[in-house]
Amino acid sequence: MENPKELKYTKTDEWVKLEGDLAIVGITNYAQEQLSDIVYVEFMAEEGDSVSKGDAVATVESVKAAADVQFPVSGTIAAVNEELVDAPETLNTDPYDTGWMMKLKFDDPAELEDLLDAQAYDAYNEEREG
């Protein structure tokens, strides 16, 4: 699965899609491959909560590990993809589309400058895989 060019990426393996003042977050293909079969998604924040950059807002649990999901920018949670609670395997099959996790209305776009583009994220993964 290719990492879509129009998305931004973090070194903690989230993808970020920017739509106006909204940031949409999900986990990358690399993340879901590392986790293997995802069996549970727990949201630790709900619509209306204000969260800081780096706060754990969700946990993704697979048969062998649990990983936190965070936003690379501070703001207010605008939407939560509750469908993942009943169908967590969506994160394995379609991480970049129906597997979106949360939307956030962000405060300061400057915080988004550190994000990687698809090319840089691919390079980062290659480097990690050695």
Binding site: Y40, T59, E61, V63, K64, A65, A66
Partner: protein, 451 residues
């Protein structure tokens, strides 16, 4: 002496980490504390040591020597001899669920049976493979509620009629959560507590309400209104139950409990001066992702045969680390096995009989004691199971001391934990006591409190 490393290996290791001697590893410890001189007696031979230890232990008296009316959380029930025989088989004799679990199908099956028995007993959906004891399960219930509400609800309500030691343990567990308040068990002037007062404390900031069933004073209280109020504001309800009582009483699950926890010692585990005991922890389905501890599930192997596995382990501490609900969830595998064997041996009818005998004998004792001069039942209008409170004409500690001359252990002195209950004795009666034992107790009480 057993030393796993040779001098050469020690030399190599010291070289790698760059120190000259083992002593150098302890330089951070102040010198005077570093190698303290131990004032130990001369070594003894095995024969001498066995005889010395026997001498010390013979200074103890136990319920083998005394007729006991002491309960207050630990109960002297009959344990069929077969429990110990099966328990001590080499295949079973470990306190832990193994860390390479699936190779030990027998242990996993026993744990699975334990879980099934506990859910049957309590009317709940899921049981874990146990905790240390009743006190820690009560604290873990409050802990679970904290995480269930993601720390957003700050109030933990605990009835004053929950075992005082359990309440202390709950506070100990919760002291790390700065903003959590434990309330509901404040000292009152009146013995007991008002259910209505407890209900009025429940609000939308309440994560959990913990009540005991039967309560610490042995009373069987109808908690239906309390459960309804808690649920109406979305709070969880935890029942701290006595397993034996569930042979007669409506189970916590039928009351709508979200969590039912308790001390499993009455199920075939000896008093043993306070432990090891068994913490039972059961929940309704919707809390399963927050359940601490280990869980055994049934599945089929690649040949289609029935098999057992550890399940839901991804939320366990070795994977979740600081994100797990609890990092103190060591189970009491061997004690859980004892409870499983006990329940299997006495069976459903036998279990009901034990409960009924406890109930009948306790009521006989209560009736006899209430007729003694200066004695009175403290909660005359409330039904009780196998434990009850009597007001005594003299301080309980004084009565108990005198009862010892009759080889009788009197009841629990409630003034130890409840200042408002001076001269109140909590008396427990189990199936193990005969009518004769109870009559002896009545006669002794009359004698030691007489003029």
């Amino acid at each position: 002496m057993f030393t796993p490393h040779t001098p050469q290996e020690i030399e190599e290791m010291l070289k790698v980490i760059g120190v000259n001697s083992i002593e150098d590893l302890f330089v951070q410890v102040p010198e005077k504390h570093r190698f303290p001189e131990l004032n130990l007696p001369e070594p003894l031979s095995e024969i001498e040591l066995a005889s010395y230890l026997k001498e010390i232990s013979s200074a103890n008296a136990s319920t083998e020597d005394f007729i006991s009316f002491l309960g207050a959380g630990a109960y002297n029930h009959y344990i069929p001899a077969a429990v110990d025989m099966i328990l001590r088989r080499g295949e079973f004799y470990t306190a832990y669920t193994p860390y390479q679990p699936e190779i030990s199908q027998g242990t996993l099956q026993a744990t699975f049976e334990f879980q099934s028995l506990m859910t049957e007993l309590t009317g709940m959906d899921v049981s874990n493979a146990s905790h240390y004891d009743g006190a820690t399960t009560a604290a873990e219930a409050a802990n679970l509620a904290y995480y269930f509400f993601r720390g957003k609800r700050k109030k933990v309500i605990v009835s004053r009629a929950v075992n005082p030691q359990y309440r202390e343990t709950i506070r100990t567990y919760l002291q790390g959560f700065d903003d959590v308040v434990v309330t509901g068990d404040e000292e009152t002037s009146k013995a007991g507590y008002e259910l209505q007062d407890l209900i009025s404390l429940i609000d939308r900031d309440t994560s959990i309400v913990l009540i005991q069933y039967p309560d610490f004073f042995g009373r069987v209280i109808d908690y239906a209104n309390l459960v309804e109020k808690a649920h109406s504001v979305g709070a969880l309800i935890a029942f701290v139950f006595n397993p034996t009582s569930l042979g007669l009483l409506k189970p916590p699950g039928a009351f709508g409990a979200d969590i039912a926890v308790g001390e499993g010692q009455p199920l075939g585990i000896p008093l043993s001066f306070g432990g090891p005991y068994l913490g039972i922890f059961t929940i309704k389905d919707r809390l399963v992702r927050k359940l601490a501890g280990r869980l055994v599930g049934e599945t089929i192997d690649q040949d289609g045969k029935r098999a057992f596995v550890l399940t839901l382990t991804a939320r366990e501490q070795h994977i979740r680390r600081e994100r797990s609900t609890s990092n103190i969830c060591t189970n009491q595998g061997l004690m859980a096995l004892a409870a499983t064997i006990y329940l299997s041996l006495i069976g459903k009818e036998g279990f009901k009989q034990v409960a009924n005998l406890c109930y009948q004998k306790a009521h006989y004792a209560a009736k006899r004691i209430s007729m003694l001069k200066g004695f009175e039942l403290a909660f005359i209008d409330t039904p009780f199971f196998h434990e009850f409170v009597v007001k005594t004409p003299q301080p309980v500690s004084q009565i108990n001391l005198r009862l010892q001359n009759h080889w009788i252990l009197g009841g629990y002195d409630l003034s130890q934990a409840y200042p408002e209950m001076e001269n109140h004795m909590l008396i427990a009666v189990t199936e193990k006591l005969s009518k004769h034992d109870i009559d002896d107790f009545i006669a002794a009480l009359e004698e030691v409190t007489g003029d």
